[in-house]
């Protein structure tokens, strides 16, 4: 779960990592506290914000007000600007790079550092790999004082700043461990003209699955969110209910089981010439409310012409699935056809539920088809595509 720059910097402050003086703009009166020239930074989750027009330098309050008006509500690279951070302008002598990450191959955490800051580390890895210093740590181990000092020297930080730099490096790593992050990045870390070190940007990626252990984040105003960036209306409704959902631009509503098959069904629908309207994931053993909400999202999406559904019951049982679909149909009398396949745990019980409701309300169930496990899933997908066309 990616944090906004200003949220990351709140955590930096808590760990004693120096950041520029700043004000987050929600209320224009806050501008009274700003000393000009200052830097305006739109809070959006993209790199290279300068080039994207998300960072402006302003010399007066008047100019600041005008630029803030321009920035707020604007959509930059797909992200709506909801807040703007104003910071004191720092005179930069040199830009460096620091991060704490997990090496996904070795399953070990490491500190990455580079004398080349201000650009994406992937670019440095390509253009000048020798400029990157890597220091691996054991899982759960905190760095010693010498670790920070050694890394600082290895990326060319002068002797006069070695204690400050070492403290920033080790505190960054402490933040990474204490808040169980996936990533903490300071890029750039600036050496200022007056000989100080300041974290000019922050990138903090939290592990949403570990957030229950950090209620203190809530006090800072950081609460669980699922994706990087802004969500569509339907995505917001889904997120509120805890359903991973992504809007796509097609006309076939996808009502799969878990994430894995959800991803596969999008591929398969495209492969056979159809267009999926969404990605969705029921999660393991979904409740009746969650399942009904999933169907409702698709039924109410004007783009959706037909719904493709699949349940291979493991921990998510077929009878629960059938009950949710039938109740939704009885209560809402939807008109969109549903082409589905159901197999797996509690399948017989699930079929009985469908048959009972179909018998009672044959008209409502005339466009509802449910195949068994002896029909390949591809055939079910092809039939759905035919109806959509």
């Amino acid at each position: 779960m990616r944090l906004y720059e200003y949220e990351g910097k709140m955590l930096f402050k808590e760990f004693g990592i120096p950041v520029p003086q700043s004000v987050l703009i929600g209320d224009p009166r806050e501008l009274d506290k700003v000393i000009y020239p200052a830097v305006l930074k739109a809070q959006v989750f993209i790199g290279k914000r300068g080039k994207a027009g998300a960072i402006k330098i302003v010399n007066s309050r008047q100019e600041a007000e005008l630029e803030i008006k321009n920035l707020l509500g604007r959509v930059i690279a797909g992200y709506e600007v909801k807040s703007v951070l104003i910071e004191e302008k720092i005179d930069i002598k040199k830009e460096l790079y620091l991060s704490a990450i997990i090496d996904r191959k070795l399953h070990k955490p490491l500190i990455l550092a580079s004398s080349e800051g201000g650009m994406e580390i992937e670019e440095v890895a390509k253009s000048n790999p020798d400029a990157i210093v890597k220091h691996y740590l054991e899982v759960g181990e905190y760095p010693e004082g010498w670790t920070g000092r050694w890394i600082a020297r290895a990326i060319g930080i002068p002797s006069s700043l070695i204690s400050k730099a070492s403290s920033i490096i080790n505190q960054m790593y402490k933040l990474f461990l204490d808040y169980e992050c996936k990533l903490v990045e300071i890029n750039p870390l600036a050496i200022t003209k007056d000989g100080n070190l300041v974290a000019l940007d922050s990138k903090v990626d939290l592990d949403e699955d570990a957030m229950y252990r950090h209620p203190e984040l809530k006090k800072l105003g950081i609460s669980a969110r699922h994706e990087v960036g802004e969500l569509t209306e339907r995505e917001k409704i889904a997120k509120k209910a805890g359903v991973p959902y992504v809007d796509l631009d097609g006309d076939i509503g996808v009502f799969p089981g878990g994430a894995g098959f959800g991803i596969a069904s999008i591929d398969l629908i495209k492969h056979f010439g159809g267009n999926p309207a969404n990605f969705m994931d029921s999660g393991g053993a979904p409740t009746q409310e969650r399942l009904r909400l999933m169907i409702d999202l698709l039924m109410k999406n004007p783009r959706v012409k037909v719904i493709f559904g699949a349940r291979f019951g493991g921990i998510s049982r077929c009878d629960d699935w059938a009950r949710a679909i039938c109740q939704y149909i009885i209560e809402n009398k939807p008109e969109k056809p549903m082409i589905m396949r159901m197999a797996g745990n509690m399948e017989q019980e699930g079929r009985k539920i469908f048959e009972k409701y179909r018998h009672e309300e044959p008209e409502l169930f005339k466009d509802i088809k449910i195949y068994k496990f002896d029909t390949p899933i591809e055939e079910v997908i092809k039939e759905t595509i035919k109806i959509a066309k």
């Binding site: 899982v139 759960g140 592990d207 570990a210 894995g260 098959f261 596969a264 019951g313 496990f373």
Partner: protein
């Protein structure tokens, strides 16, 4: 023989008194899995479907010293504790059902498991099945038939669909392993591939991966050293940019992490890549034919 479990493997269930665990304990017993004990702290002395419940894994193993495999059914926040308890007590294989285990917990578990030589499968795995022999987890038995193809996949439902596709074409599975859908897993693909390579009951392996992480790329390195054919199925080809579809995220690894990167890596190791589920049995048959004529 199969891998990981067979009809003789004695197993225990941690968190056996939970609703889902009770239901699936019943399914596992019905399938023939030898569940000798269960563990739930504070519920020692109870009995679930005839299985005695203990407060700790150590007490359970004192009564059932041959138990080798444990499956974990506790909530994600207690999973690290439960796995470490099993590792310490002397369990050899731990199968981790819960999903959403904190990343740093799993990094620690991997480290401890490695030190003790314990195999951890999952989290967010549907489990492991050696069809006709034994089943651990919540895989639906209807999807599987005994045969000579090993399968290993990151997603639960994909595991079922692959077996289903193989069975519809007259093939069957020696063992099907759910590697798990969480970002940091207890085992890599190659840990399982190695077992299949050495298993006399397995002729070929189907590997199914998806976008995110680098487990497929790591597998590609190992596959170069394998004799048995591997058929691949990778999902997330048309996944929208910058939006996560349920599972693991990307991290600095250059170009690694996309479906294309995984497909390219696997292809370069000689893996035949299926475009659809029903193409999998076709490629398996093709690979077996050329493998048999070569050897």
């Amino acid at each position: 023989m199969a891998i990981i479990i067979d009809e003789n493997t004695e197993t225990i269930v941690q968190g056996i008194t939970g609703t889902n665990a009770q239901l699936h304990t019943k399914f596992m017993l019905d399938y023939g899995t030898r569940i000798v004990g269960g563990v739930t702290p504070g519920k020692g002395g109870q009995v679930v479907h005839g299985v005695p419940v203990y407060d700790t894994v150590k007490e359970c193993l004192a009564q059932h010293p041959n138990a080798k495999v444990s499956s974990i059914w506790v909530p994600a926040r207690f999973t690290r504790d439960a796995i470490l308890e099993s590792i310490d007590a002397g369990i050899q294989i731990v199968i981790v059902i819960p999903e959403g285990i904190p990343i740093h917990d799993m990094l620690f578990v991997r480290k401890k498991a490695k030190e003790k030589g314990v195999v951890v499968i999952g989290g967010n795995t549907p489990g492991v099945i050696s069809p006709g022999r034994a089943l651990i987890g919540m895989l639906p038995k209807i999807a599987f038939k005994r045969g000579r193809i090993g399968t290993v996949a990151r997603s639960g439902a994909i595991t079922y669909y692959i077996a289903n596709s193989l069975n519809l074409e007259g093939l069957g599975e020696s063992t099907s392993v759910g590697l798990g859908g969480d970002p940091i897993l207890g085992s890599n693909f190659e840990d399982v591939l190695k077992m299949f390579e050495e298993d006399p009951d397995t002729d070929a392996v189907v590997l199914a991966g998806e976008i995110g992480g680098v487990y497929e790329e790591l597998a590609a390195e190992f596959i170069k050293t394998m004799k048995k054919p591997v058929i691949g199925f990778i999902t997330g080809r048309v996944a929208p940019q910058g939006k996560r579809l349920g599972h693991a995220g990307a991290i600095i690894e250059g170009e690694l992490g996309t479906a294309q990167s995984k497909i390219t890596a696997l292809k370069s190791s000689g893996v035949l890549i299926a475009e659809t589920l029903s193409e999998i049995p076709v490629l398996v048959k093709k690979a077996l034919k050329s493998f048999n004529s070569n050897s």
